[in-house]
Structures are given as C-alpha cells and as structure tokens.
C-alpha cells in the first residue's frame, strides 16, 4: 500500500518537476531565439504567448493546490485526490502547448512539513529522471514543435488575431506610458508632454499644444532622425500639411528621400536594417501627430516591400526597386483612384444640382473641378466650422476655378439644407463595421441631411479602408490644441484664462464617426458600394496580397 502510494507520489512529483523544467526549457527556447536575432514568426509568438499564459495558470493552480495540500498534509491524506489527474498528464506531456499542468504537489518544500526519508528518496529519484527526460525532450522538441506549428498554420484563417491595443488610446494607463517612454529613450526621440486640463471623458487620449512642437527638444544635429523626417514632423504638428491624402503623399516622399540617402552598414542586410531604421522615424512622426489610417496602410506597404527584397540583391538595384514601388503606390492608390472616383461621381451630378460639401477634402474638390470641366451646371454650398475653418481653403480653390459658391457655418446648415439636392463628403478612413471616420461635424451634416431627405454620398479611396471597428467618437480620436477655441469677439476674450478656472475645460475634437444609416452611397475606385460592404473589400484586398 505504502509502495503504491510512493510510486504514485513519485510519478506526481516527476510530472510536477517535468512541468517546471518544461517551462524552464521553453524559456530557454525563447532566449535562444532572441540571441540568434531571428524574428519569431507569428505562430511561434502566439504559441509562446499561450504557453506563458499556461505557466501563469499552472503557477496559480500550484499555489492553490499547495494551500490545499498543506491542509491535506495535516489531515494525513495526500495523493488519493490527485491520483487520477497525473494519468491524463502523461498523455499530454508530449504535446508542449495547451494542456495545463496543474501540479498537484507544489515543489516548494519550504511550505511542506518535514518529510519522511522515503519521500526524500523519491524526490531525488524523480529529479534525476526529470533531468534525463529533459535531455531527451530537448532532442525530441523540434519534432512536436513542428507538428504543432503546422496544425496552427492550418487554422490560421479563422484564428482570433491577437491584437495589441495601440498606445495612443491608453494614455490613462501609467504602465503603457512608462513603456512608451522607455521605447522612445531607446530610439533617442524626445517624449512629448500633454498640455492643459483634459476633459474626463477623454482622459485616455493625448492632448498636445501646438506652441510646443517636438522639434524644440531635439538637439542639432540630430544623428538619429533624418532631416526630411524632422521637417515632415514639424509640418504635421503645426498643421501645415493636413488632410489624409496630403499627409500620406508627404510621408511617402520623405521615405523616398530616406531610401535615397541610405547606405547599408557592413554585415547587415538591407531588408532588415532599413526596416529597423524606419521604426524610430515612425515613432517620431507619431509623437508629432498621431498617424492617420491612410498613413498606417502606406507604412505597412513600404515595410512589406522592404522585407520582400531578396538578400542577394545589390544595394543600388534594391533602392531603385523600392523607389519604384513607392511611386507606383502613390500613382495607383491615390492619383489614379481619384480619377476613377471622379468619373463615377460625375454620373451622379446632374445639371441644376445644388451640392453641399463640408470642410476641405482634396478628393471632393477634384471631383467638382472635373465635373465643371465636363460642363455640368451646378452650384456649391461650402459648410465650414470653427476652429479649423478649413472650408475657406476649399472655397478659394473652387472660386478660382469659377464655380459659383455659397458659404455658411455649420450652425446654419438647417437653414440652407432645404435648397440642397446632394451632399458630398470626404472621409479620413472607412471602418470595418461600415462607420465613416471623418472630420468632426461630418456626422452632424449627415444627420441633418437625413432629416431633410437629401442623399449623402461619401467619396473614399480604398487605401483608406481600415480593419478597426468603432461605434462612437470617444474611444479612439485625436484631441487638438484646446487653445484654438479661444476667440476675441467685440473686444472680449472670455476664455482667455480658462486654465485658471479648474472646472472649465475646452474640447477640440478632430474626428468623429458617422453611422452607416446616414450614408447612402460610398464611391470608391472599385465602384459604388454601400457602407456595409467595406469588410468585403478588405477581404478581397487581403486575399490579393
């Protein structure tokens, strides 16, 4: 009876030890991978993450069981309860991943009461066997690992994507801020500080002041960041380059300059080193102004092209290839797409139309100018809003071309809408659940247009389609400089000293989301689609790539 129990206990301890060494050995795997400098593939990363979770769970269960066990030890009964479990363990031991290893007896001898000689012997024996087993499993590890990764690859399509939350919507989490600060320090980029009192609803977002640009904190000459990128960052933060198309094109041009000036350091591969070079630039630009969805897609494309450069390619040829790829992207996704969209939209504009536009969208302006050249007779109403007043720029461009325009502020839109026959809106991004993310005020115009039964058409290129989903304007947004809201009227500036009055806050949102029931049609270069077909287009794009 005693021998049986001992054997069972030893098996249990072996399981426990092997579980622990298994975990240790996985850690060794990770260290090895890191040291080699190889990037862990997606599957490996997921597997490692799962294993870490399992280890955490097993540690918790070990602690629980330790408490249970210490209680049971006092009672004198130990392995009877935990006996059925190790049998399941033995079958699962070969597969490294998902089965939990709830070690019934925690190998923390400090917690246990003094053991008998037999138990000590059993433990020693178990340890030896465990070391032998670990040596064996080291050899046999690539085998089961490969099998596991193959099975994982097969189910990749519908596997839940393990996403990391972007840092810019977790400002209220001090751990995330610390991580960001460390990362920026490593990349030698200054951290931009938040400014002013943030409205509590938006405490999870950054709020910067335009008067304190990031470039003031950079030393000259800065060896880490390319001067073209510094200039671009300054243009972003001061609002000189604004609008998603303009920002993407400026970014791609700056990247082209970076690639032209790049030389591969010795003992490095261009495909890996250039991507690593681009990372601090992207962090810097993100600090100057949070990246837009179009910029994000452009960066993904550039990184993919760089990493696809074969290693035997010479530097000159590789650079030429990359420059060509970027130029192709700009031409195809932005310029030609605009032409295609203009052609389809002109079918929707008839003579005698009164068209309402909001703010300054380069695409909508292009469409209207093209329609004028095709001799359509229409007039335009430009709606504008404080504090950005971008509509004035659109007004100037349209009036220069000779289009007859009317100009109102957004509060007068209920007055002017009975005259309007169509509303054309631009978009910053189209989200996967059909919501349109655009300049703040767009959803309001769509709402009032719906109330007056005026059709709303959104024009958007496909490179702005984004896989994120969002239902309100709070969770992910951009907060602009709150001082922009201050204005002087009749010689009085009421909000001048808003910082001194603690309960007063100013909110300057940049984007908002329009629900798909307000939008009647989305015009893209792939055709005219309803708002809800955005995930279909995304899927088609992913399959193509």
């Amino acid at each position: 009876m005693l021998l049986q129990q001992q054997r069972k206990r030893s098996r249990i301890v072996k399981m426990a030890d092997s579980g622990v060494t298994d975990g240790n050995e996985k850690k060794g795997d990770i260290e090895r991978a890191k040291n080699e400098g190889k990037e862990l593939t997606k599957e490996e990363k997921q597997r490692l993450r799962k294993e870490k979770k399992q280890q955490k769970k097993s540690k918790e269960k070990k602690d629980d069981k330790a408490i249970q066990e210490s209680g049971k030890e006092t009672k004198g009964d130990s392995s009877a309860v935990s006996a059925p479990q190790p049998s399941t363990q033995s079958t699962a031991q070969k597969v490294p991943a998902p089965v939990s290893v709830p070690a019934p007896e925690a190998p923390t001898p400090a917690e246990k009461p003094p053991k008998s000689k037999a138990e000590l012997k059993a433990e020693r024996r178990a340890r030896q066997e465990a070391e032998r087993a670990s040596k064996q499993s080291k050899k046999g590890d690539p085998g089961p690992q490969g099998a596991v990764s193959k099975s994982k690859a097969a189910t990749n399509e519908l596997q839940p994507v393990v996403k990391r939350l972007p840092e810019h919507i977790q400002v209220d989490n001090p751990d995330v801020l610390k991580k960001l600060a460390k990362k920026l320090e490593r990349q030698q980029i200054p951290l931009r500080l938040d400014y002013g009192y943030k409205v509590s609803l938006f405490s999870h977002l950054h709020q910067y002041s335009r008067k304190a640009p990031l470039t003031q904190q950079l030393s000259i000459p800065s060896t880490v960041i390319h001067p073209a990128i510094v200039r671009l960052g300054l243009q972003y933060s001061q609002g000189i380059v604004a609008g998603s198309n303009a920002r993407s094109i400026a970014l791609l041009h700056a990247f082209k300059q970076v690639i032209r000036d790049y030389t591969t350091p010795p003992n490095e591969e261009l495909s890996r080193d250039l991507v690593n070079r681009l990372k601090p630039y992207i962090s810097f630009l993100n600090q100057c102004r949070p990246l837009s969805a179009s910029m994000g897609n452009a960066i993904k494309y550039v990184k993919k092209e760089i990493s696809n450069i074969p290693s035997q390619c010479k530097e000159e040829e590789a650079k030429r290839k990359l420059l060509f790829c970027i130029e192709w992207y700009i031409k195809e996704k932005i310029i030609l797409a605009a032409k295609a969209i203009a052609e389809s939209s002109i079918e929707k504009i008839s003579d005698g139309d009164v068209i309402l536009i909001y703010g300054c969208s380069s695409l909508v302006n292009h469409i209207l100018c093209e329609a004028l050249e095709k001799n359509r007779k229409f007039r335009v109403i430009v709606v504008d809003s404080r504090p950005r007043l971008e509509g004035r720029e659109a007004l100037r461009r349209l009036v220069q071309r000779g289009i007859s325009c009317t100009y109102v502020l957004i509060s007068a839109v209920s007055y002017i809408l009975p005259e309007v026959s169509k509303v054309f809106l631009g978009a910053h991004a189209l989200l996967a659940n059909g919501y349109v993310m655009s300049r703040v005020g767009t959803s309001q115009i769509a709402l009032v247009a719906k109330a007056f039964n005026v059709p709303v058409l959104v024009c958007c290129e496909t490179y702005k389609f984004c896989e994120r989903v969002q239902t309100d304007s709070f969770v992910s947004n951009e907060l602009d400089d709150p001082d922009d809201l201050i204005v002087t009227r009749n010689g009085q500036t009421h909000l001048e000293h808003w910082q001194q009055e603690p309960p007063l806050g100013l909110l300057n949102l940049v984007y908002d989301v329009t629900p798909p029931d307000f939008v009647d049609l989305v015009i893209t270069e792939l055709g005219m689609i309803p708002c809800t077909s955005v995930p279909v287009v995304l899927r088609v794009k992913n399959v193509d790539q």
Partner: protein
C-alpha cells in the same frame, strides 16, 4: 400746462424706446435680454395708460394698438414687445368686463350659440366709460410687472426636480434663464455641463465662464462636435428667443441640429422659457428665418477678392418643430408642447393676434 408737457414727455419716451429697439437688435446679438425688453415695454405701456388721454376702454386699446404696431415694426424679431402689448390688451378687456359686471370667463367659452349669433357684439361694448377703470388697469399692469420680475426665480426653483446628480447636461449659446436654472441646481447637486459655443458670435464662451465660476464642471465644445458628444449626454436644456403658437421654437441658430441629434439618441430636450416669450405667431415659410446679420462674422473682409464672388449667409435664428421637444419649463410649471395652444388662449385674446 401739465397736459402737453406730459404728452411730449410721453412721446419722447416712446421715441427713445423705439430707437433703442432698432439699435439693440442689429449687431452681435441682443444688447439687452428679452426679460428687460418685456419689462421696459410693460413700464412704457403703464405710462401710456396713465398719461395718455382716453375716455373709454376702446380708446385706450386703440392707442396701445397703434403704439404697439410701431414698436413691433421697429424690431420685428423682438417678439416680446408684441407679446406684452397683447397681454396688456387682454388685461384691459378683463378689467372692462369686470367693471361692467359680466364675467368675462363665461364669454370666453366660445359656445356654438355665441359663435353663430353674436358677431361683432363684443366690439361695441368697449365704449362705456368707467371711472375706476384706469386705476384697475394700472394695478393689473403692476401685477404683470411683478410677475415678470419673478419669472427667472420661478423657473430656477424647479431645477432640482429635473436634474439628478452625475448627469451630463448639454446646452447651446447663452441663455440667462438656463444659467440661473443650472446654478440653482448646482447648489445641491453635482453634475457636468457641456456648452456648444454657437458660432459665429460664440455666446457659449460667456455662458461657460459664468457656469464654471459657480463651481459647475463645464466643457466648451465647437458646434461641429455636437453629434459626436451627444451619445454621452443625459439631457439637453436650452433657452429660446420665442415659443411659437404650435409649440415650436424660434431659437438661436444651431438649435435645430442639436434637437435632431438629441432625437436620434433619444435624449430629452427641455426648453426653459418664461411665459412672456410665448407668441401667437405660427411658423411661416417666409418669416421663419427672417433675421440675418452682417456676414462679416462668417467670412471676414480680410479674405480679399473672393468676397465679391461668393454668397455668404449668417442667419440668427433656427426653427425647431414641436416633435423634437420633450418639455417646456415656464414660470407657471412644466408643460408638453401640445399644451401650448391652451396656454395661449389664457394669455391672449384671439382678436389681438393681429395687432
């Protein structure tokens, strides 16, 4: 002689008031609040009653109607002037009827018999002379003045019935009534207020600073962000310039958008309006947005040459249909928009709707 001096003094007063109205209406927003206008109008009407020469109620009513037409023509968008005139006319009718002995209330119920038989009977009745009529009318006008002075307080007293703690309340522009309402509630409850600044005059800024001085947590947002923020708002409380006879509003521009956004999110829209803002006008295609101000506020002259090629509009008011409104809070309590027509028949006589 005291007579002509009084008369010239009276006409001077009236002329001063008219020029004030003309000046005060144009420019960046009203220089005076509607409550002050109402009080001044009523005071002026009392003076007219006291000093003008009249022998019967009909004469007095003619004089007041004439002056009233001039006053409303001076500033058509200031409807409180017309409202007060109609109130005083109703007072005169009541006092006359009381002096005559018949109960005006019975006459008011327009029985079918009365409608069919008596046509212009009521008009002739105002020719009788009653000695104490003057004193009675002046006393009644004094009562009206006291009522006017207490309207804001009466409305603010109801604040705690409508605001609970930790609410987010939205408002637009600047309304003295709403400001008093919120400050009264803030003495006992803690809540958050979001103020839409209401371009181009940005009266919301002043409202926000006043509220924050009272210790209320306030946030100022641009007009464009109204829909974006509305999902977090529990109640919308606004003031208005006029309450129209169908229960709709003529309010500052941007209010219609706010009302539509509130309807979309099923947020209740509460209008704080004292009774002197209730006007017997119905909304009309032509005159619903009949007030515009200089477009310089919208597109300044510094924009240069494009100004000559562009039409710029700067309307001051918005029409809000009654379907979008949940509740009216006035100095006599809370009402639904569908009840407004009944209140109107209590305040004004139907023959006075056209001055």
């Amino acid at each position: 002689m005291p007579g002509p001096d009084k008369e010239t003094d009276l006409t001077e007063r009236v002329e001063a008031f008219l020029s004030d109205l003309k000046r005060g209406g144009s420019g960046a927003g009203p220089l005076r609040g509607s409550a002050e206008t109402a009080r001044e109008t009523t005071a002026l009407l009392r003076k007219i009653t006291a000093q003008a020469r009249w022998s019967s109620a009909g004469d007095l009513m003619e004089i007041i109607r004439k002056e009233g037409r001039r006053m409303t023509a001076a500033q058509p968008s200031e409807t409180t002037v017309g409202n007060m005139i109609r109130r005083v006319l109703k007072i005169i009718r009541e006092e006359y009827a009381r002096s005559r002995g018949s109960s005006e209330e019975a006459d008011q119920q327009e029985s079918l018999h009365k409608l069919l038989t008596s046509g212009g009977l009521s008009e002739e009745n105002f020719r009788q002379h009653f000695a104490p009529l003057k004193a009675n009318v002046i006393e009644a006008i004094n009562e009206l003045l006291t009522e006017l002075e207490g309207t804001t307080d009466n409305i603010s007293m109801q604040a705690l019935e409508h605001i609970h703690s930790n609410e987010v309340i939205m408002t637009i522009g600047r309304s003295r009534t709403v400001e008093a309402f919120l400050r009264d509630a803030a003495r006992k409850r803690k809540f958050h207020v979001i103020v839409a600044e209401c371009a181009p005059f940005c009266q919301g800024h002043e409202m926000a600073t006043n509220l924050s001085k009272a210790g209320i947590e306030t946030t100022v947002i641009a007009d464009a962000a109204i829909f974006a923020v509305m999902s977090r708002v529990n109640k919308v409380i606004i003031g208005t310039q006029t309450v129209l006879a169908n229960g709709g509003l003529r309010a500052v521009n941007g209010t219609h958008t706010l009302a539509l956004a509130a309807k979309h999110h099923s947020t209740p829209l509460i209008v704080c309006a004292p009774m002197f803002k209730l006007s017997p006008q119905f909304p009309n295609e032509e005159d619903t947005f009949h007030k515009f101000v200089s477009p310089h506020e919208v597109l300044p002259f510094t924009e240069g040459e494009i100004l000559s090629k562009v039409n710029v509009h700067c309307p001051v008011f918005d029409y809000v249909p009654p379907e979008l409104i949940t509740l009216f809070i006035s100095n006599i309590g809370g009402h639904a928009p569908s009840y407004i027509y009944r209140l109107m028949s209590e305040l004004y006589h139907p023959e006075d709707h056209e001055l």
